[in-house]
């Protein structure tokens, strides 16, 4: 599970504990095992770190505004526990971090800290990854065959629902691919559980078309911590797309294209956008991360592994525009 996380994050864990790092995943493994043997890395360390990095980034996000109907029910943990109990979910309340790989999507924890509610699901899965180092050729009955190797990899998808009571905002975070038949059922399962806790009709999905417009407009000027690589805009029966050739480029840097964009009337709607954000270094390894926004299903996709703090920092920036 640890080795399934990105190298950047494993190095961050080792660095934070003052442990030797190395340069390859084999080095990380060796140093980690040494640290476990000597007690320099404990189970509590792993749990806290996994909570922070596992299942953050490389995911689809749906953002909601929350209309609080019963204020006192969210005042403190004991009040929330009563709601969890009433919903019949007490066995998940404050559950210790799950290390399981359930075959089906399973609710594994409900937590309430600092006026923030978190509901967590896990699901194990297997996938095949290409490993060219094991390819070989063989002659069989006079014919030459090339055998291409794939290695089976066990993974764990994490699904979370986070509610920030003070900010009245919530997010549904899913790692199930959008192209998979399982994505929609997973989201519906999540929202069914959430409604049993929050009540029906308390969540209103945030309009991603407005996010696209706000972000794209803001990044036209110098100084924004994010930029648009590609944005597609639709009118009644036609569309236009603004984009940079380079994947890390910003179309706004090209004067002729920026001028065209400025001429675009406000009645044209943002439909999709690929943007680059600077994930803050104080919340994790500082880096540029890519996000894709889809207005049709009000979805944001983050294409890089990040930490919890970085994901929320990015969402906060998006909402502020």
């Amino acid at each position: 599970m640890v080795l399934a996380q990105g190298n950047l994050f494993i190095k961050e864990l080792l660095r934070a504990k003052g442990l030797p790092i190395g340069s390859t995943k084999a080095d990380f493994t060796a140093h980690m095992l040494d640290a476990i043997d000597t007690g320099a890395l404990t189970e509590a360390d792993f749990e806290a770190w996994l909570q922070r990095v596992e299942g953050w980034g490389d995911q689809h996000i749906y953002l909601y505004r929350w209309k609080e109907k019963e204020g006192r029910a969210w005042e403190d943990a004991s009040a929330v526990r009563e709601r969890v109990k009433a919903a019949g979910l007490l066995n998940a309340w404050e559950a210790s971090s799950s290390l399981a790989f359930p075959e089906d999507l399973a609710l594994t924890g409900i937590y309430f800290r600092d006026r923030r509610l978190r509901v967590v699901w896990h699901q194990g899965s297997q996938s095949m990854v290409r490993d060219t180092s094991r390819d070989f050729e063989e002659e069989v009955e006079g014919d030459r065959y090339e055998f291409r190797a794939y290695r089976e990899r066990s993974e764990r998808a994490v699904m979370r629902f986070d509610l920030r009571c003070d900010e009245k905002v919530a997010g549904a975070f899913l790692q199930v691919p959008i192209s998979s038949d399982a994505h929609r059922p997973a989201l519906e399962k999540m929202m069914g559980t959430v409604e049993s806790l929050l009540g029906v009709g308390t969540l209103k999905i945030i309009d991603v078309a407005k996010l696209i417009r706000g972000l794209d407009q803001a990044q036209l000027k110098e100084g924004a911590s994010f930029s648009t690589q590609v944005a597609r805009w639709s009118g009644p029966g036609a569309y236009v797309e603004f984009g940079a050739d380079s994947p890390s480029g910003r179309y706004r840097d090209v004067e002729a294209i920026r001028e065209l964009r400025l001429a675009m009337p406000p009645t044209v709607t943002g439909t999709t956008a690929k943007m680059t954000f600077e994930a803050p270094g104080d919340e994790g390894p500082a880096r540029q991360v890519r996000a894709q926004l889809y207005a049709r299903d009000h979805r944001i996709w983050l294409g890089s592994q990040m930490t919890e703090g970085q994901v929320w920092a990015l969402l906060d920036v998006s909402r502020s525009t």
């Binding site: 290409r130 060219t132 050739d245 480029g249 090209v254 002729a256 065209l260 001429a263």
Partner: protein, 384 residues
């Protein structure tokens, strides 16, 4: 294709010099070269591969590459390679392209077309992006309704590839009233209210701050409005024939965020600016002397008089070569517009302008009194 050649890049050089363009023209076909020349005139990023340049210009691939290499050799373009997976067409970092498997689609590169990632040489000129004026406010001087404003409005509207709103602020002809402080204060307040109203109306979907082009008394009213109402914010300011005092502190307004940048376009042969302090309270000869605290782009035109900026072809040239550049280029390029330096200045002793104004007022009163007496005498004669 070998590894990308690392050219010594001079980040201050945004485009070849005129001589360098001539040399390039002797070796390369004009259409493609002229296309590149026009592209490099813009601020911001200019980036081509040989293929994209050939597509854009219709030139042969070999010609395109030769032109781009020639400009790169001048230190204008930096070179880098762009990699992509031939299975999913996603872009790759160089370190990813050196691996065996695409991190995006999971395919082995050797299983894809070409059996390895594709590689494209990219020529880039990176520069600070230009600025996009939101809307423009034009404020004329006294004793004129400012017919030049119509021409200026047309220039603003047709310079950009989009509609740039221009508001011509008219406050009527102000003759004797300019010497009265209370009248000045009223006009400044009205200007302040107008800016506030228009900014609110336009700012819902745009940058609410106007860029301002002000002339003569208009400069004084603008300065008063900004000083007296800290809520007013403007973008870039162009002053022509300015009668603000040379010790007017633009730096303070810039630090407060009320003003973004200022161009003081001075006229060496301006006869009216030097006498403004004698007649108009609170004024000074900044339109000939410049501003002393600094923080302002100073440009002195040796052959210009008070209204030379606004004559027909001259205004078109001034707008294209100076004012539009000041409004739309990045601040790092403002020094290119400087010409000359502000000159030392000391205000006149207060008694002198006071005496002049009292004399003027006395003359006005005498004229009015004479007129009244004539009227009364004439009326009496008529009755008798």
């Amino acid at each position: 294709m070998g590894p990308a050649r690392r050219q010594p890049i001079d980040v201050t050089r945004l485009r070849p010099t005129a001589e360098e363009w001539q040399q390039l023209a002797s070796a390369h076909p004009p259409p493609a070269l002229n296309f590149l020349r026009a592209a490099l005139q813009d601020d911001g990023l200019v980036e081509y591969s040989a293929e994209s340049f050939a597509t854009a210009t219709g030139a042969e691939l070999s010609e395109s590459m030769a032109i781009l290499e020639a400009v790169a050799n001048l230190g204008i373009f930096s070179l880098h390679d762009r990699w992509a997976c031939n299975c999913c067409n996603e872009d790759l970092e160089e370190s990813q392209a050196e691996g065996n498997v695409c991190p995006h689609c999971g395919s082995a590169f050797k299983d894809c077309v070409g059996h390895s990632p594709s590689r494209q040489r990219i020529y880039s000129r990176v520069a600070a992006i230009g600025r996009d004026p939101s809307w423009v406010l034009v404020v004329h001087g006294m004793n004129t309704t400012g017919r030049w404003q119509e021409e200026l409005s047309w220039l603003c509207a047709t310079t950009y590839n989009r509609s740039l709103p221009v508001f011509i602020y008219k406050y009527g002809k102000v003759r004797p009233g300019a010497i009265l402080k209370w009248r000045q204060a009223k006009l400044a307040q009205q200007l302040s209210e107008k800016i506030d109203y228009l900014s609110s109306a336009y700012g819902a979907t745009n940058d609410p701050r106007p860029d301002v082009i002000a002339h003569s008394l208009g400069t004084l009213l603008l300065g008063r409005a900004l000083n007296e109402d800290r809520g007013i914010q403007v973008g870039r300011v162009i002053l022509a024939g300015s009668i603000l005092r040379p010790d007017f502190d633009w730096n303070q307004l810039i630090e407060r965020g009320q003003v973004e940048a200022v161009l003081n376009h001075c006229a060496e042969k301006d006869r009216w600016v030097p006498i403004a302090p004698l007649v108009i309270p609170g004024s000074g000869p900044s339109g000939t002397r410049g501003f002393l605290p600094g923080g302002v782009v100073h440009r002195q035109e040796l052959k210009f008089g008070h209204s030379s900026f606004f004559g027909g072809a001259v205004m078109r040239q001034v707008y294209k070569e100076v004012w539009d550049r000041f409004l739309s280029q990045p601040r790092s390029r403002h020094s290119e517009l400087s010409l000359g330096n502000p000159r030392p200045w000391r205000p006149l002793p207060a008694l002198i302008p006071l005496a002049v104004r009292i004399l003027l007022l006395a003359m006005v009163c005498l004229v009015v009194l004479t007129g009244l007496i004539s009227l009364i005498v004439g009326f009496k004669v008529l009755i008798s």
